[in-house]
């Protein structure tokens, strides 16, 4: 199971941060060539990220590059450079239609061929940051087999909606739910939007909990300080792990007794329950929690 609980934004123009980004052990790092880079720094940031990806080892941390949109003068050059640099994922900004994905995919395919790379070597992610993007979320999520996930960007979204961010997040509740629903329907990952007040640790944890509850796989983050709180929220609790293990033991017991009906804690165990239990155990293992091996052989 691939964990994408945390995707850490790293300004692509900051050499020190580009060099060190992986040491904080987020699940993914996202080198940004778009919003955090001034117009006169676009080329140097692209070059910096290109050489970093070609030279440095990110030691297993998934590498993502957010490129500039194709409607900008930089998007095509970003794609050309990044396909040759070889990150794990290219992330599109401000995606509104399935066509946006297909246009980028076409360019990537051409660059892969030109570079002699196997087709599909680079995966895609899309950021949905507008009302139109939210309305088209499912079409976007199913636009390409390369697309492994969609991420919500709330800042532009609330501007378009003629509102502003609140701590409760009621103004983006629908967008979040729509996006995560589309991702689930398409069988891809969903990442929640950034939380920009670094000093509001309590508010951040609350928001992460809500994102997890809505079904998101993880969160875009802007500082290494936000990594551990997210990982802590996404780690199953001991009680959750124990409940999941009871389900697995129930299945094992039913197999032994050759019965089709399984009850655990007085409840009938159905397929969704089993799937949830399996996901909890996988998440626990991925989070580094120890599950006794004998518990896993059911």
């Amino acid at each position: 199971m691939k964990l994408r609980r945390t995707m850490l934004y790293v300004p692509g123009g900051n050499a020190a941060m580009v060099k060190d980004a992986h040491i904080y052990r987020s699940d993914a790092i996202m080198f940004d060539l778009e919003d955090s880079i001034a117009v006169n720094e676009k080329e140097s940031a692209r070059l910096l990220v290109f050489h970093a990806l070609r030279t440095l080892s990110y030691e297993g941390t998934e590498t993502v590059v957010r490129i500039n949109g194709l409607d900008s003068p930089y998007g095509r050059d970003d794609i050309k450079a990044m396909v040759n640099a070889g990150p794990d994922i290219i992330r599109l900004p401000k995606t509104e239609t399935a066509q946006d994905i297909q246009d980028v995919e076409e360019l990537i395919r051409k660059e892969e061929a030109a570079a002699g790379l196997e087709e599909g070597s680079i995966a895609l992610m899309a950021a949905i940051e507008s009302p139109l993007g939210i309305l088209n979320a499912y079409q976007i999520a199913t636009a390409s087999s390369r697309l492994i996930g969609i991420a919500f960007g709330a800042e532009d979204y609330v501007t378009n909606m003629k509102t502003s961010r609140s701590r409760a997040g009621s103004e983006i509740f629908y967008a979040r739910s729509a996006l995560v629903t589309a991702a689930r329907a398409a069988g891809i990952y969903a990442l929640d939007t950034v939380f920009s007040d670094l000093n509001d640790e309590e508010g951040f944890v609350e928001e992460v909990r809500m994102a997890k509850q809505l079904g998101f796989d993880g969160k875009s983050i802007i500082s290494p300080r936000q990594i551990r709180p997210v990982h802590d929220v996404f780690a199953p609790t001991e009680a959750e792990v124990e409940a999941a293990l009871r389900v697995m033991r129930g299945i094992a017991e039913a197999k032994k007794r050759n019965t089709g009906v399984i009850t655990v804690d007085g409840k009938m165990v159905d397929k969704p329950m089993v799937e949830r239990a399996e996901r909890v155990i996988e998440m626990a293992k991925a989070s580094g929690q120890r599950i006794p091996e004998e518990e896993l052989h059911v």
């Binding site: 060099k19 060190d20 040491i23 904080y24 440095l56 080892s57 290494p224 300080r225 580094g288």
Partner: protein, 512 residues
């Protein structure tokens, strides 16, 4: 046989007493006792002088003598420069300056070095222009660098024979009872100054806060003090101690701190009643925060914290996580305010803290210490004195004292500093020998000293990112490569004294 002042015949000697001195009158040999009674104003019951110059002259300071200062006022210190200017104007030359440490504000001493007023320096550290110039070779005699404990030992044994100690104090009464926590220049513990006051031939207190007699509680007592001078200001309070030493927000320091706390909490030393010292550097200060989380979760209480006490330590004490504090140096205003009122917050002097040759110093009872490093080599030797350019820019401090005294010495450092690896084959300057360093914690991994086979066995199978120190060096060099070696000259500009008085390393001048 002679007649004494009250007409009694007194022999010159009797068996068992070689020489008897006849009584000469009640006031004859007690210059500080007033001779006119009946007046509540006691003009002679004080040691006040009008100026620093008068004090210098009264002490009989001469060419070639040794003078001492303390560094509790840190970068707000006004005493050293003030006194040295007076001494220079009096034409006194070739002094040995034995200051417990010197900071950036002491760059003003450079003209006195160049003109020969200061001929020799003994200190824990040097920084800024002073460090640069001494590294370039402006002094004929190398600077002797000692640890805090080493200095106390040297002063007590007479290796450093202080002729006059000029000690700035935030408050004193007319008789010399002084403490560090009263007044606008409050600095907290006077741990380094107390040693000088006890052992210097002459002691001059310099204060900007003369208080009513008796100034209790006192850290320096009246029976040690010769003269007192009141000046406008002994220090810039905004640079002596400010509010609370803030926990860094630098993510790399926080990552190192988290790793260090993980290591300590996983170690066999993390048990109820353990003792702790953490430095004031970014990462080691932040370690206390993460360690506090572990302590709350596991119900572990620290029996005492040692050393430079900070706001974090005080807050942990107030929360009940630390029972007692032993304070040789208070790092911020929270610590200063605490030592003034809290009986569980005890001032200790540098000898009690770390003197290796007294009958027992506090570092020997220490379980865990977190220390910083400029560089560390593959033998775990640590340099905290010279920068990667070879220039003197730090201080030995209590580094080697606590490393050897503690059960677990944890050195924290970023693996890469700027474009240079912190782990090297051979550190430029050894301050703390590798045999006393147990674990290196960096942002990219942790290395346990192979000498600590017990710890290696203990940590085996943990989820901590463990590497050998060679592997950490290679990891860093894969990113930044190996720098060209610094070119040193042949001239020795510094001697690094280990705490026991032996020389552990020398510092050479940096070639142009």
């Amino acid at each position: 046989m002679s007649e004494n002042a009250i007409g009694r015949e007194i022999r010159d000697s009797i068996p068992g007493y070689e020489k008897l001195k006849p009584f000469q009158g009640a006031f004859a040999n007690t210059p500080l006792v007033r001779q006119e009674k009946g007046n509540r104003n006691l003009p002679r019951l004080n040691k006040l002088l009008d100026t620093v110059e008068q004090a210098v002259l009264k002490t009989g300071l001469k060419d070639g003598m040794t003078i001492s200062f303390h560094h509790h006022f840190r970068n707000g210190d006004k005493v050293v420069n003030m006194v040295m200017d007076v001494i220079a104007n009096l034409g006194i030359k070739n002094l040995t300056l034995a200051s417990s440490s010197l900071t950036t504000i002491h760059d003003e001493l450079l003209p006195h070095i160049k003109k020969g007023v200061i001929g020799r320096i003994i200190t824990s550290g040097l920084r800024s222009k002073l460090g640069e110039q001494i590294s370039a070779g402006i002094m004929d005699v190398p600077v002797l660098f000692h640890s805090h404990g080493g200095r106390a030992r040297a002063v007590e044994t007479g290796q450093i024979k202080i002729d006059v100690a000029f000690l700035g104090v935030p408050s004193s009464d007319v008789y010399g009872n002084a403490n560090g926590f009263t007044g606008s220049s409050a600095c907290g513990s006077l741990g380094y100054a107390i040693v000088d006051a006890k052992h210097a031939s002459r002691v001059v207190l310099i204060t900007d806060n003369l208080v009513e007699y008796p100034n209790t509680p006192f850290s320096i007592d009246q029976d040690l003090v010769d003269h007192i001078v009141v000046v406008d200001s002994v220090g810039d309070s905004s640079r002596i101690a400010t509010g609370a030493t803030r926990i860094t927000s630098n993510p790399k320091d926080l990552l190192i701190a988290q790793n260090a706390a993980d290591v300590i909490a996983y170690s066999p030393y993390f048990e109820d009643g353990f003792s702790l010292q953490t430095g004031s550097g970014g990462a080691s200060l932040a370690t206390t925060r993460y360690l506090a989380d572990y302590m709350r979760r596991r119900g572990v209480i620290c029996s005492w914290a040692l050393g430079g006490i900070t706001s974090q330590i005080v807050k942990m004490h107030q929360e009940g996580l630390i029972k007692r504090m032993l304070d040789v140096q208070s790092f911020d205003l929270d610590a200063v305010n605490s030592i003034a009122v809290n009986p569980m917050h005890t001032e200790i002097d540098a000898s009690y803290y770390a003197n290796p040759l007294n009958k027992g110093c506090a570092v020997n009872k220490l379980n865990v210490v977190v220390l910083s490093a400029l560089e560390i080599d593959t033998n775990f030797n640590v340099n905290v004195l010279t920068g990667s350019d070879g220039i003197i820019m730090g201080a030995s401090g209590g580094h080697s004292d606590t490393a050897i005294g503690s059960g677990l010495s944890v050195v924290v450092a970023p693996l890469i500093r700027g474009r240079i690896s912190s782990v090297v084959d051979r550190v430029l300057t050894v301050v703390t020998p590798g045999e006393s360093v147990d674990i290196l914690v960096t942002d990219r991994g942790i290395a346990i000293n192979p000498r600590r086979k017990d710890l290696i066995g203990y940590f085996h199978g943990s989820k901590l990112p463990l590497y050998t120190i060679q592997e950490l060096k290679e990891r860093a060099e894969r990113v930044v490569g190996t720098p060209e070696p610094i070119k040193f000259g042949d001239r020795i500009v510094g001697l690094v004294e280990y705490r026991d008085g032996t020389i552990i390393d020398v510092i050479r001048n940096v070639a142009d």
